[in-house]
Each structure stands twice: as C-alpha cells, then as structure tokens.
C-alpha cells in the first residue's frame, strides 16, 4: 500500500514539475473540438434522469395539471397519457371543447356526469348477490369491483385479467375494462389495489414508466444496451445529447450523433442498408445464370466466353449478350453481336441498374469502412495508452503525453463525421455547393487517414518532441477541416443549397 502511494505521489510530482507552457497547451486540448463545443453549448439544455427521477417527474406533471383541472390524479394520468404527456395540449383541449367528447376520446368516464352513473344503482343493491360474467359465480357485492363504466366483475377475475394483460400482453397504461366493447381504461390506482403479486406490480410500474417516456416527446431512453437513464429536453431538436453512461446520440432519432446528415435521410439509409434486397442485387449484378440450366455463374476473368460450370451442361455462352457462344466465332474477348436490338435493350436496362448499384456501393463501402474502423476504437485507445506509458518511461510527463489520447478522440470524431458525410452525399443532387462539399470531404478524408497512420506508427522509437509536433499539427488540421465541412453543410441547410435525389 505504502509503496503504491509513494509512486502515485511521485507521478503527481512529475505533473507539477512539468513545463508550464506545455501544461497550459495540453489543458486547452481537453476542450472539445470547436464544432462539438458549438453544438453542445448552443443553449441546448437537457437533463439525464434516473428511473426514480423519471417517476418523480411524472408525478410533478400530474400534480401540475391536476392543480389546474381539479380532477383525480388517476384520471389526470390517463388524460396526460392520451395527450402524450403534452400538458399544454391537454389543457387547451380541456378548456375549449366539448367535455363529453374530451373524456370519451381519452377513454375515461366524464367525472362530471357521475351522479347519473349506473354504478350507483348497483351499489344500492348492497348485500344482494351478483353474478360475475367471467367466472359465473354468484358473489356478494363487496366481492365485486368495477370502473366508472359500471361493468363489474369479481376481484379474482379482475386480478387474473389484469395479470394476463400485464405479464402476457405487456400492457400498462392501455389496459381497458374487461367487458366486451368497453374501452374505458383501468387507472393505475385500481391496478395496484387489485393486483397483489409483487412481481406483477413491479412489471406494471415499469410498463407505465416506459410508456411515459416513450410517448413523451421531451423524453428519450438512452439507446445504449442495459442503460436505464433517460434524457429530458425542454424542446425537441436534432441535437447531440450525452448520457451519464457516456453514450452520445441524436435526441430525435436515437442514432449515434450523425452530423452532417439529417435524421430522415439517415433513417432511409439505414433501412436501405438493412434491406437484404441490396445484397441480392449485388449478387445479381456480379453473377448471371446459365441461359440453359440456370446454374449461377460468377464472372471470374476478362473473357466473355463463359462455359457453364455444371458438368452435365457445359453450355457455351457469351457473358455480354447471353447468346450462345457459337455465332461469336473466334472473337474471344469481344462480343461481335453487340448491336443486335434485343441484346442492346437488355444491356441498357442492366447498365442502368448497375450504375445505380455501383453508385450505392461507392458510398456504402466508404460508410462501412469508417464504421468498421470506429469499431476498433477501444483497441486503438488501448494501444495508445500503452504508447503513452512507454513514452512516460522515456522521460515524458503524464500531461505531456496526453496529446495522444486527444489525437485518438479527434480521429474517432472525424471518422464518425466522415461516415455520415457519405450518407449525406448519397442523397445529394450535384450542384456547385455539393462540389465544394465533396472537396471538403476529400480533404478531411485524407487528413484523417494520415492521422490514423501516425497513430499506428511506432512512435517511441522516433524523436518524441518531433512526433508530438507532427501529431498535434495533424489533429489540429483534421479538427479544422471537420469544422469547415460541418459549417459549410450547416450553412447550406440555412440557405437551402442542398437538393436531394429521392
């Protein structure tokens, strides 16, 4: 223990004895790159909430609305859920409309019509036996229960019904009365009164909390696996938010932060990439079926003379026109039937298809390349950490080697930006501004690749001061190019430069 503390003291001693200028510069480096700084500090406030805080927040909204419309909290909760927890909208509809319609729409009985309810009639026959329509048992009235709609069932049947809805069907806030055709919703207090099984109650609480977050536009669960935090914003905008677990994502769509492409195009792109048909299209473009036996043949060389690989077929045909090889004579590399009308039409159709496919693959490959590289992020951080330790053994201080970590931060950020620039570019129509964008993209791409190479080099064997200068210059350049690219795209959004292909 003692020795550990000693070595720690020694390290921190090193820090304070480090070059003051260097220290200041490295601290500066810890500030996020300028475009991120801009986006995050641009008055976009958000909070990260724990599950308890979410429940608390829910209660606050209910109390607030309840204070205005003077209704039961249970009814208020159902109403709020109906209006997707938009209290302004709820109050607006409440005060300007037909109250009967208002309550009917939210599937609750209008509490102001209560005295006219059938419930009262039934209650008046206290102590007389009632038949439960579910289990057909004759039971005293106090063993029966129902909502304001007046449909009554025995406590056991209610319990079983609610348990089935919660556990089997995963319903929370949207469980309706057990009577056929009755859409009156069961409130949370009633559920808690009728259901006693602890596990079912916990599950119900989770379900209603979840529906609160999911239907509330100002809240979003952190999409990171196993993370239970939610982000709360005060207005909805496509902005990056960072969860307490460290995950950074777009508040609107929940994807990784994807500047410069907009949510809607990214969504379209992800769907396109997920779509199997693209893969099968690729196969279709690189292979053909033997015109005789339909075995799939892949073109493996430049020669157009294809011989079917099916040993029972061995059909000779031309890759270009798919005609039998025989009339092609001795022109092994060229198809001399190229101009025949039928072949030409088929070729035109295929050409069109292939060029659009080639275009897609061009963007897809670059997009995937950066995504793959980003997946090695952790490995890169680990290797850089090792290098930093080695450098510290070569008489550099802890603070002096931080530039390496910083370089990896910027590298990853540039890759992520680049990755999404290919999605943006895929849907972009060519014009003067799109050409400037492509130049910016090219610059950033090559600077990023150079930075990546530097970081993979054996840094310790070279002149450390020298390499540090080079790496710092390069990442500052990358950072600058990244900002230039993003600023240009943002300016384009403001000035309506961008036109889209689909």
């Amino acid at each position: 223990m003692d020795s550990d503390e000693d070595s720690f003291e020694m390290d921190s001693g090193n820090v304070s004895s480090g070059d003051d200028d260097d220290f200041a510069m490295d601290v500066m480096d810890e500030i996020p790159p300028s475009h991120e700084r801009q986006a995050e500090s641009d008055e976009y406030h958000y909070e990260v909430l724990t599950t308890d805080e979410i429940v608390q927040h829910q209660r606050e909204i209910i109390d607030e609305v309840k204070g205005v419309i003077k209704l039961q909290p249970t009814v208020t909760r159902i109403l709020l859920n109906h209006f997707k927890w938009d209290k302004e909208k709820l109050l607006e509809k409440y005060f300007d409309g037909n109250t009967d319609e208002f309550f009917r729409g939210a599937h609750v009985i209008n509490p102001f019509n209560k005295p006219a309810n059938t419930n009262k009639n039934k209650n008046s026959k206290a102590n007389t036996a009632e038949e439960c329509e579910i289990c057909f048992s004759q039971l005293p009235s106090d063993s029966m229960a129902g909502l304001e709609c007046g449909h009554r069932f025995c406590l056991n049947c209610w319990r079983e019904y609610l348990t089935t809805k919660i556990v089997t069907e995963g319903l929370g806030q949207s469980i309706s009365c057990a009577a056929h055709g009755c859409d009156i919703l069961v409130d949370d207090v009633t559920v808690m009164k009728l259901v006693h099984d602890g596990r079912v109650r916990v599950k119900y609480q989770q379900l209603i909390t979840n529906s609160f977050v999911e239907c509330n536009q100002l809240l979003r669960w952190c999409p990171s696996i196993d993370c239970t935090y939610a982000i709360k914003v005060s207005y909805v905008e496509s902005r990056p938010v960072r969860c307490k677990c460290g995950h950074k994502f777009c508040f609107v769509c929940g994807e990784n932060w994807h500047d410069p492409v907009k949510c809607r195009w990214l969504k379209k792109w992800i769907k396109k990439c997920d779509d199997d048909s693209e893969t099968s299209n690729w196969i279709a473009a690189n292979t053909k079926e033997c015109p005789k036996c339909n075995v799939t043949i892949e073109k493996d060389g430049g020669c157009n003379h294809m011989i079917c690989k099916n040993q029972n077929c061995k059909h000779d045909f031309c890759w270009v026109c798919l005609g039998s090889w025989e009339p092609h004579g001795s022109s092994w590399y060229n198809c001399n039937r190229y101009d025949e009308d039928e072949a030409k039409a088929a070729r035109d159709a295929q050409e069109k298809f292939r060029s659009s496919l080639a275009r897609y693959l061009h963007y897809y490959n670059r997009y995937m390349n950066h995504m793959q590289s980003l997946k090695f992020e952790n490995k890169l951080y680990a290797s850089v950490k090792r290098k930093m330790e080695e450098m510290q053994q070569h008489n550099m201080s802890w603070i002096e080697v931080q530039f390496l970590k910083k370089a990896v931060d910027i590298l990853c950020q540039c890759r992520q930006t680049l990755m999404y620039t290919y999605v943006f570019a895929y849907y972009l129509k060519k014009n003067n501004q799109s050409m400037i964008f492509e130049d910016n993209q090219k610059d950033l791409e090559s600077a990023t690749e150079t930075l990546s190479e530097y970081l993979e080099r054996d840094i310790t064997s070279e002149n450390l001061a020298d390499i540090k200068q080079k790496v710092q210059d390069k990442y500052r350049y990358c950072e600058k190019r990244c900002t230039v690219l993003l600023d240009h795209v943002h300016e384009g959004y403001e000035k309506d430069w961008w036109e889209y292909l689909e």
Binding site: F136, S137, H151, H180
Partner: protein, 151 residues
C-alpha cells in the same frame, strides 16, 4: 389434466340448455375443452344451404385468452384461409373474458353474412371479392355446394 373451471362447466350447460339457432356446439366425449361445432350458412348469403363443421378449443387460460376456432369444412371466404383459420377481431385483440363460446359463434355466423375483404386473411379470395364481387360470390356458392352440402 386440471379440473374443469366452473365457468366452462356452466357455459357448456347453458349452451346445451338454450342452443343458438343455426349453431350447434357439442363438447368432445374425452375432452371437455374441445367442441365439435356446426354452423349453418345464413340465409341470403352465398353460404346458404351449407353445413359448416368447425372445431373450437378452450385453452388453459380461457377465458383470459380467446378460444381457438377453425373451420374444418372448406369455405370460400375472404376472412377465412385455406387452413380454416378465421380473421375475426373478437378472437384476437377484441377478445374480452366476458365474451363466451356463444358470442364467438354468433360473430362467426355474422361474418358469413357480411364478409370483410378489407381485412383479409385469404388474399386471393379477398382480392377477387373486391375486384369482382359477383364472381367471388359465385365461387363461394360453388364451394358451398361442393364441400358443405351433404348428399
């Protein structure tokens, strides 16, 4: 097998005591949760004159979940597929434990009177029902004669 819930016993009794016109449901000798059902084709429908056999099974968690019902007799209907499976809201999301075998069979009978090609299960049949109703009804009549009329 677990003992039969009171609900099923009572429901079966009532079903036998007050049968529904045009519907006949008899529990299997060996399995009180399995019913042999006969529905006669409603008058003024293309299924008129037909005797349709169905099977109905009450699952373990009945009445919390809906009975399973299937046509055994072949039928040309946009909401009934080739395996006899029925597309009917009360058998799915509109099921309520307060519904009964009786109400379900009445709904099925009503479905024969009023096919709903906009919520199809048998796509080819539904398609024809929408494009050429007369032709579809003709097919339904033919199928009824062919498969649902006893010699």
């Amino acid at each position: 097998m677990s003992s039969l819930p009171r609900r099923i016993i009572k429901e079966t009794q009532r079903l036998m005591q007050e049968p529904v016109p045009g519907i006949n449901a008899i529990p299997d000798e060996n399995n009180a949760r399995y019913f042999h059902v006969i529905v006669t084709g409603p008058t003024d429908s293309p299924f008129e004159g037909g005797i349709f056999k169905l099977e109905l099974f009450l699952p373990e968690d009945y009445p919390m979940s809906a009975p399973k019902v299937r046509f055994i007799t072949k039928i040309y209907h946009p909401n009934i597929d080739r395996l006899g499976r029925i597309c009917l809201d009360v058998l799915k999301d509109k099921w309520s434990p307060a519904l009964q075998i009786r109400t379900i069979l009445l709904s099925i009978q009503a479905l024969l009177s009023a096919p709903n090609p906009d919520d199809p299960l048998a796509n080819d049949v539904a398609e024809l029902w929408k494009v050429n109703e007369a032709e579809a009804i003709k097919n339904a009549r033919e199928w009824t004669q062919k498969y649902a009329v006893e010699d």
